[in-house]
């Protein structure tokens, strides 16, 4: 799977006529673009715009391209933008394995094959054998890792991270952060990270854009 | 009742005509043959659980024996069934009407007869089971509320106004023996007597009983009210009611809605004296645990209202043959015996036991009339029903005086 860079061309997001964010950037595969700013600054809206789930109350313009392919007018489900929020948001009505299997594209057929992928993905985040568990019984760190495994299984073209580490305590945060970035690099995915934590930005190592600063 | 309205309205839009059918009651086998497969819509008062259950039994028998399907259309006032036929006639629906059989007597029969709404010529006396009917000793079978029946309705049961009281609470010696004593009794026992709100037929019947007792000239009641001085004739009645009203249950500000409600009030000991048209009604209620077994009956030695209730077929009935088969079945010794049994209903028969064969007579003799039922010889003399026209006027006047609004 050839991974391509993410390109944002004159993206502007406004709320009731007030421009919140305006930027053009490109993010190479494996690189991280970090957006920092206070809450309400529109940084999460930018993420939503890229992912295609921006609340209709916002008005937005500009192009989102990946590998030369224009995503701007595609619905969310056709963009293949993997998202991680600050909560792991595992589906509470599915087992851990069910959450992961749900993420595997339908094009991958065969019960055996799909089950193997789930197992592999769990091993990849160090949670082998937990497929049958109720997500509510996992620890915070385990949940975060399942969420990561889930998003990776869906064969995304990019990763959108909306303060995904902010709910974790310091030690765990570092572990999970490293795991996420390592996986993104391995899969050569362009990453957009929204955070207000300078440590996150430093660990990401890529471009940092500050939005909403007066 | 709603059905009446809807069907009548529907007929205004869809005037479908069924082919005319000729029925000869004398060729009974042909009638029975024709009836097979018909559905008979029997419009009958549905306010009593035991009567409803009896009709369910009758329906079951009719289906098994004659292939006739009996549907009990429960009406809360027979006048509604009559109005239904009136509406159909007005809409030109002279065939294929929605009412096949009506439980009827008195003013409703008079009204239908007057408006030519009945299947004619007379057919009832040609029914095979007519041979058992006690026409000799029960004059109300051929004269319904002064109106000649002429075979236009078939007798079903006998009614006689009787009173009930609870002997555990009320001393039999204190019971009234006529209308005036009832008033005195009410003065001595305020709030313990009431009657169903007219035009409920039990309530209206009570008014008629008082009218009959208080009117100076009995004969005038047998003729249409238009021919008499209504105010003068009914003056004693309303003078009586004016005195009775404040002495009644709830000070005459509320009335039980019908007989079953009154029965409940006797059970609750809210009322001490109630009355019914069915002499064994109290025994049935005891059997059903609705009344205590200390309830007993009494009647006025001077006489109480008596009448016969009938079934009739409207002129535009659809299932005429089925309706006739049903009427005949209801007249059969077996159906009449079951009807007289307080276990099921307790309604006195219209048949003469002397005309029955031994086997059928045994059916009647085996019936246990119950502790609370007066024997046929204890029921006292019968007072004839007044001409139906009196009732209408009296109900109107009653409503004006005591029943504001509804």
């Amino acid at each position: 799977m050839a991974q391509k860079g993410l390109e944002l061309q004159s993206v502007t997001i406004a709320l009731e006529g007030r421009v919140l964010v305006a930027l053009s950037r490109s993010v190479a595969p494996g690189d991280v673009l970090t957006l920092m700013g206070p809450s309400g600054s529109g940084k999460s809206s930018l993420l939503a715009y890229i992912g295609g789930f921006l609340d209709p109350v916002f008005s937005a313009s500009g192009k989102v391209m990946i590998g030369g392919c224009d995503l701007t007018n595609l619905p969310t489900e056709d963009r293949h933008a993997g998202i991680l929020f600050q909560d792991p948001l595992l589906f509470p009505h599915m087992t851990v394995g069910g959450n992961l299997a749900f993420a595997i594209p339908a094009s991958i057929k065969g019960r055996e094959e799909r089950r193997n992928r789930v197992e592999e993905a769990l091993e990849g985040v160090g949670l082998a054998g937990l497929a049958g568990r109720d997500p509510a019984t996992l620890s915070g760190g385990q949940k975060a890792r399942v969420a990561l495994a889930r998003v990776l299984l869906s064969s995304p073209r990019m990763l959108l991270l909306d303060e995904p580490f902010s709910r974790l305590d310091t030690e765990l945060r570092q572990q999970v952060r490293e795991l996420v970035f390592a996986k993104a690099r391995d899969s050569r995915l362009p990453v957009v990270l929204v955070t207000h934590d300078e440590d996150d930005a430093a660990a990401a190592g890529g471009d940092v854009v500050r939005v909403g600063s007066q | 009742m709603k059905t009446a309205l809807v069907t009548a309205l529907v007929f205004l839009f869809l005037a479908a005509a069924a082919p005319a059918q000729d029925i000869d009651v004398k060729a009974w086998d042909a009638v029975v043959e024709k009836a097979r497969g018909e559905t008979v819509y029997f419009n009958a008062w549905g306010g009593s659980e035991s009567i409803n259950a009896y009709l369910e039994w009758a329906g079951e028998e009719l289906r098994e024996r004659y292939g006739v399907k009996l549907v009990h259309v429960k009406v809360d006032d027979t006048a509604n069934a009559v109005t239904k036929v009136v509406a159909e006639k007005a809409a030109g629906k002279d065939e294929g009407g929605t009412v096949d059989l009506i439980w009827i007597n008195g003013e409703n029969f008079a009204s239908m007869k007057r408006q030519d709404l009945l299947m004619s010529p007379g057919w009832a006396e040609d029914l095979p089971n007519w041979q058992y009917v006690d026409v000799e000793n029960k004059p109300t079978i051929r004269t319904d509320f002064t109106i000649p029946v002429e075979g236009l309705e078939s007798p079903w049961g006998m009614a006689k106004l009787v009173f009930f009281y609870d002997s555990a609470r009320t001393d039999a010696a204190s019971l009234p023996e006529n209308a005036d004593e009832l008033l005195e009794w009410a003065e001595a026992n305020p709030g313990r007597f009431s009657y169903p709100q007219p035009p409920d037929f039990m309530g209206s019947s009570f008014l008629k009983q008082i009218l009959a007792e208080k009117a100076e000239d009995q004969a005038v009641l047998q003729r249409p009210a238009e021919e008499a001085d209504f105010e003068a004739v009914t003056e004693p009645l309303f003078a009586y009611l004016d005195k009775l009203n404040p002495l009644m249950w709830r000070g005459g500000k509320a009335f039980p809605q019908n007989y079953p409600a009154m029965k409940q009030l006797l059970a609750d000991s809210e009322l001490d004296i109630i009355f019914a048209f069915n002499p064994s009604e109290a025994s049935s209620a005891i059997a059903n645990q609705e009344l205590p077994d200390t309830v007993r009956s009494f009647t006025f030695p001077g006489g109480t209202l008596a009448n016969t209730h009938f079934v009739t077929v409207p002129y535009n009935a659809t299932a005429r043959a089925g309706a006739l088969v049903t009427a005949n079945f209801l007249l059969s010794p077996e159906a009449q015996a079951r009807k007289q049994d307080p276990k099921y209903w307790g309604d006195p028969t219209v048949l003469a036991l002397s005309k029955l064969d031994d086997k059928d007579r045994a059916l009647f003799e085996a019936i246990n009339l119950g502790v609370a039922t007066l024997g046929p010889d204890e029921l006292g003399p019968a007072i004839d029903e007044p001409h139906p026209s009196w009732m209408e006027r009296i109900e109107e006047e009653w409503k004006r005086r005591y029943g504001v609004g509804n």
Partner: protein
């Protein structure tokens, strides 16, 4: 596509029948009903209506019932929420009261009747020991001329309704903070609530209060069971005329329905006046700095009124249940001499057909309402904004327009299209009243759903339908089933739509029960009213058990 059509479809299905029905009611009121030969507009029937004995008395009683019921229920709820919100006792009372919402009005009214009648349960319990009564006192309690018992019967049912509506609005105001602030300024609990929070809360529940005014001023079933008879409240008399087999009475009934519309509108108008007066009073008290620090008595009274109303319903239902299995039961015995299943066995075969109709109609009207509600809510998400006030009003419309005023005309329409008394027509008529409740109870949990789950699923490449069916609906199973149970209960409780659209040929447990009211056979009424109460309860049981079983392995899916 489907979701885009949903709001218009809902509008069509709710406003359509109401407008159509109102037209069908108003035209005959002015003498226009071609089917019966009425071709020329005439004021004759309105004149005849005004000639009816005691018609103004009836109208006035309906008007007063609307205002008094709403005022009493709202006052109790307001003072109770003001005095107790946030306490442990509050949540206890909540658990006591909320199931009562599902009890049909008619069942609650029968229960009350069996309780407070002179020969009722209360008199039996205290007699003869406390009262010396060996027989019931001769006092007019049921069907009293002032309609007090009828209003009491309405109040005990409207309190749970207003309480739960208020509760739903409570999270939108800052209860704890404002209370602390008011307390720090020296205001009593109730005063702090009334001055600081009620003005924000009331607008949110205002439509529900209007619905109470409208319903109580036009109710038929409760009025039949408990209301005055000479004369009866307006709506009861209307139904009598409507049911008259003499077709020409239809004109009079339509004219009466128009009067009902005016009475209800007047009651609503008067209510807005009451609102203003109360607001002015409140403001002047607040401006005068009345702190009501010693509000203990008010709080206790509100608590007592609240529990009393719930207890009355529960005790009434219990009495009904006992009557349904009672053998001989004379006054003043507190229990029957013996018990028997006779009433149940006798009613059994006769109940089957109305029971089937009840269940079928409730099931399909609820199904339709839930499906349409989900589509409307999904459309709301697509457009990204909450429904506007106008749309909200639309959902409340069937609860604000008196039922009689548009059901008469709607029945006529069904007759004209030859679909009266069909199960489809009945389902549709019930749907009109089920839909508002389903929408109101489902919209909050739907909006509270964390939309990020949706974003995640979309990010995983899942289309809208997959997201709806595999993520949102399963996660909202409990809320959906609860809303469905509410809808189911509403359908079971419907009286007038059943009587008018079912036209006597399709009967339900409720229409049969009310029809039995005049017969006074307490055992049979007990059977029907007991079923009336059990069916909605079964609905809620299913709504609780199914998700519990379905998701028994998932801790976060439990409440």
């Amino acid at each position: 596509m489907l979701t885009r059509l949903a709001p218009s479809l809902a509008m069509l299905l709710l406003a359509g029948p109401i407008l159509l029905g109102l037209t069908g009611t108003l035209l005959p009121a002015f003498g226009y009903l071609p089917a019966l030969g009425g071709m020329h507009p005439t004021g004759e029937y309105l004149a005849r209506l005004l000639q009816e004995p005691a018609i103004f008395h009836s109208a006035l009683m309906s008007f007063a019932a609307g205002l008094i019921t709403a005022a009493v229920s709202l006052t109790v709820v307001m003072l109770f929420v003001g005095g107790w919100a946030g306490t442990r006792l509050f949540s206890r009372v909540l658990h006591l009261v909320s199931p009562l919402l599902s009890v049909p009005h008619a069942a609650a009214a029968f229960g009350l009747a069996f309780l407070v009648a002179p020969s009722g349960m209360i008199a039996r319990f205290i007699s003869p020991e406390l009262t010396g009564w060996t027989r019931p006192p001769d006092v007019l309690i049921l069907h009293d001329a002032m309609g007090l018992t009828m209003m009491a019967g309405l109040v005990i049912k409207e309190i749970p309704f207003l309480f739960l509506v208020t509760l739903a609005a409570l999270p939108q105001i800052r209860l704890a903070e404002t209370r602390a602030l008011a307390a720090s300024l020296g205001y009593g609990r109730v005063a702090g609530f009334l001055f600081g929070l009620w003005p924000q809360l009331y607008p949110q529940i205002r439509l529900a209060v209007f619905a109470v005014v409208a319903f109580s001023s036009s109710v038929v079933d409760v009025a039949t069971i408990l209301g005055p008879t000479s004369p009866a409240p307006l709506a009861v008399r209307l139904l009598g005329w409507m049911n008259d087999p003499d077709l020409s009475m239809r004109y009079l009934a339509s004219a009466g329905a128009m009067l009902q519309l005016i009475v209800t509108a007047a009651a609503l108008g008067a209510w807005t006046l009451v609102e203003r007066i109360c607001a002015a009073l409140r403001d002047s008290f607040a401006a005068a700095g009345k702190r009501l620090r010693r509000d203990h008595a008010i709080r206790i009274a509100a608590f007592a009124a609240m529990t009393l109303s719930a207890t009355v319903v529960i005790a009434g239902l219990g009495t009904l249940a006992v009557w349904s299995v009672a053998g001989l039961w004379q006054f003043p015995h507190a229990l029957p001499k013996d018990f028997t299943l006779k009433s149940w066995i006798a009613a059994g075969p006769r109940i089957l057909s109305p029971l089937t109709t009840t269940l079928v109609v409730a099931f399909f009207s609820t199904l339709l309402a839930v499906a349409l509600t989900l589509l409307c809510l999904a459309r709301e998400d697509e457009k990204g904004r909450k429904v506007r006030r106008g749309t909200m009003l639309l959902f409340y419309l069937p609860l604000l327009v008196p039922q009689a005023a548009f059901l008469f005309g709607l029945q006529l329409f069904f007759i004209l299209t030859n679909s009266a008394a069909s199960i489809v027509a009945l389902v549709f008529a019930h749907f009109i009243f089920v839909m508002p409740y389903v929408f109101l109870s489902l919209s909050d949990p739907w909006r509270a759903f964390d939309r990020r789950y949706d974003a995640i699923a979309a990010g995983l490449g899942k289309g809208a339908w997959v997201r709806l069916l595999r993520v949102r609906l399963p996660m909202l199973t409990r809320a959906i089933l609860t809303a469905a149970a509410v809808g189911f209960a509403v359908s079971i409780g419907q009286y007038l739509p059943t009587v008018l659209i079912g036209a006597g040929r399709l009967t339900t447990i409720t229409s049969e029960a009310v029809a039995l009211a005049s017969g006074g056979n307490r055992r049979v009424i007990g059977v029907y009213a007991f079923l009336q109460m059990v069916l909605p309860a079964l609905g809620f049981l299913v709504a609780t058990l199914v998700p519990a079983l379905l998701f028994r392995r998932f801790r976060a899916m439990r409440v």
